[in-house]
Symmetry: C2
Subunit: 345 residues, 2 copies
């Protein structure tokens, strides 16, 4: 993204926590791109010092695994200034809410915009530091600010770079629309033996068997019920595949088999991947925690989180994005909606 | 078992609910045996009428899937007479307790003995009705009566047929020793994709991968904690493999791989087998329900039961052997132990 923005003509600074990455970008002076976008994107700075990257920036794009958002927020808090926009790309579930909660806890009073996208705009890989291949760019991306009254301003700023970004209703829509929370944790756990068998297998084509697909659709109904409790009428995961990929079918198993984009997607060979380590604490945990508070049946989600804890040894409920971590404890659904819409608690 | 007992010289009557089985046995006049026991076991009666089978019998051996025990008890209740012994072979977890609870509910006042074995004494298959192959006979089997004060009398009776039967401490020992509750439900669920892949696979050798084996051992610790709450010091599942099969190793995955008896045991190709449909409601449910009442951490067992409900569409907690179904509601661990030891509530 840094390379792409530079090629578009914007001045870009890069912060990372991995010294090897920063060193490589510094040595080259930027990032080599190939794939859909070809060229060399010069960067102003590549740094391990977050202040050097964000001071004076108009837009601070946070492009990291969602489990890192909390630490990024802590690192940014002392350096943020009035009028800046933090753009979490993507936020998983609750990215903007968690970021704001950390800033509050850190007594950061800068009046900044915080926004999140519902997905990563790129399909891309980085074969080595300072080198990225952009394989796809989404033609549609939803972004919401927290509070939603600032979404229009933020989307107008982001449209200077990506005109395909559209405003979402609020961060509950972007967060509860997170498809990874549906498609990753439960199927990964129910493919435990396949994963550890050492065999080559295809994540979607082999892994979403009829019973697993039906279970994911049942979990998805819980997600839709949580959304409904917030007044949101979201597409089901099966409808989403039609919208996002033109893939359709009479069951989720059929749908993923009809999704040509999934043809080569390989299955993991270890349980310890982002499919559990990221998508449980920043996907299922916030959805289940919100549902539990609102009185929505989320026993399937909770069962998957617990099973994930048992198989990985992690404590996802304790460390993930619960209503407490999102700064929403003790609030009713109406109060939460009012908060994400207006910023007033 | 009917054929074998007949070949030992005992008069045997057979009751079944499957007309084809009863017809076939009637036509032949008995059961053809091969394998370790060869010969033709003549039966006095084969009948669809339970009264005809049990009236006047000394021992009523109940040899059915454990989920049928409740219906068998209901069918027997009006016909049981003082001095008879009901021998549930095996009881899974709580077989004798559930049987007694049904008799109480049905106002059956006959003073009978109720006992259960911790396992089936045979390894056997029935290739067709009225034909059985006995492939193995266990050299050790634990039996407990309810109450335990009657165990000695019952075991002496049963020793006339099977001298290798030994007394267990009580029905909590036989019930909480149920290894199927450990080895079947969780691994089956975590092999969901393997099961529905259509591939040939080996249940223990492919299915107990390192993470799945470690999870089963963690579930097993919950089982041992429930047993400990009743003053029982049971062998772990790994120790049990050493005792029962001479199979040892540094992990459950290693142990089952070192168990030659498991070499040819194939994996299922559907989720709807007794590994879930029997071993959850008559294995994990009673263990988890007892643990919950006693304040023992059984969240792993409960998670597996819930996941089993979601993937099969069954309501195992509602229909299985909870403390209510076992006639133990409202009792402390001391009261439950006193009840299984003396019969007094």
């Amino acid at each position: 993204m840094a390379g792409h923005l530079s090629l578009m003509g914007f001045p870009v600074r890069l912060y990372d926590i991995i010294p090897e990455t920063v060193d490589a970008v510094r040595r080259k002076g930027g990032i080599q791109l190939d794939g859909l976008v070809k060229g060399f994107g010069k960067l102003e700075v590549a740094t391990l010092n977050v202040a050097e990257a964000i001071e004076g920036a108009d837009i601070i794009a946070v492009v990291t695994p969602a489990v890192a958002h909390r630490e990024v927020a802590k690192a940014c808090a002392p350096h943020l200034a009035h009028g800046q926009v933090v753009y979490i790309h993507p936020g998983a579930t609750g990215g903007a809410l968690e970021f704001r909660k950390v800033l509050e806890d850190k007594k950061c009073n800068a009046r900044i915009g915080i926004a999140e996208a519902n997905s990563l705009i790129y399909a891309c890989r980085s074969p080595e530091p300072a080198h990225a291949s952009i394989l796809g760019i989404k033609s549609d991306l939803l972004v919401a600010a927290l509070p939603a009254t600032e979404t229009r301003w933020v989307v107008e700023m982001l449209n200077n770079t990506f005109p395909q970004i559209r405003p979402a209703k609020n961060v509950l829509e972007t967060g509860l629309g997170n498809p990874n929370a549906m498609m990753h944790p439960a199927p990964t756990l129910l493919n435990a033996s396949m994963i550890e068998s050492g065999r080559d297998w295809l994540y979607y084509w082999d892994g979403i068997t009829p019973s697993i697909g039906a279970f994911v659709e049942a979990i998805d109904q819980e997600r839709l019920s949580v959304a409904k409790a917030f007044g949101l009428d979201l597409p089901s995961i099966r409808e989403w595949y039609g919208l996002a990929y033109g893939a359709r079918g009479n069951s989720l198993t059929e749908v993923v088999r009809n999704n040509k984009a999934y043809a080569g997607v390989k299955g993991q060979k270890t349980l310890l991947t982002r499919y559990l380590l990221e998508d449980i604490p920043t996907g299922l945990v916030p959805m289940a925690s919100l549902g539990r508070v609102l009185g929505v049946d989320v026993t399937r989600m909770e069962t998957v989180v617990r099973l994930g804890e048992f198989l990985t040894g992690k404590t996802f409920f304790a460390e993930g994005r619960t209503v407490d971590a999102l700064g929403l404890s003790g609030m009713t659904s109406e109060q939460i909606v009012a908060f994400v819409e207006t910023g007033t608690r």
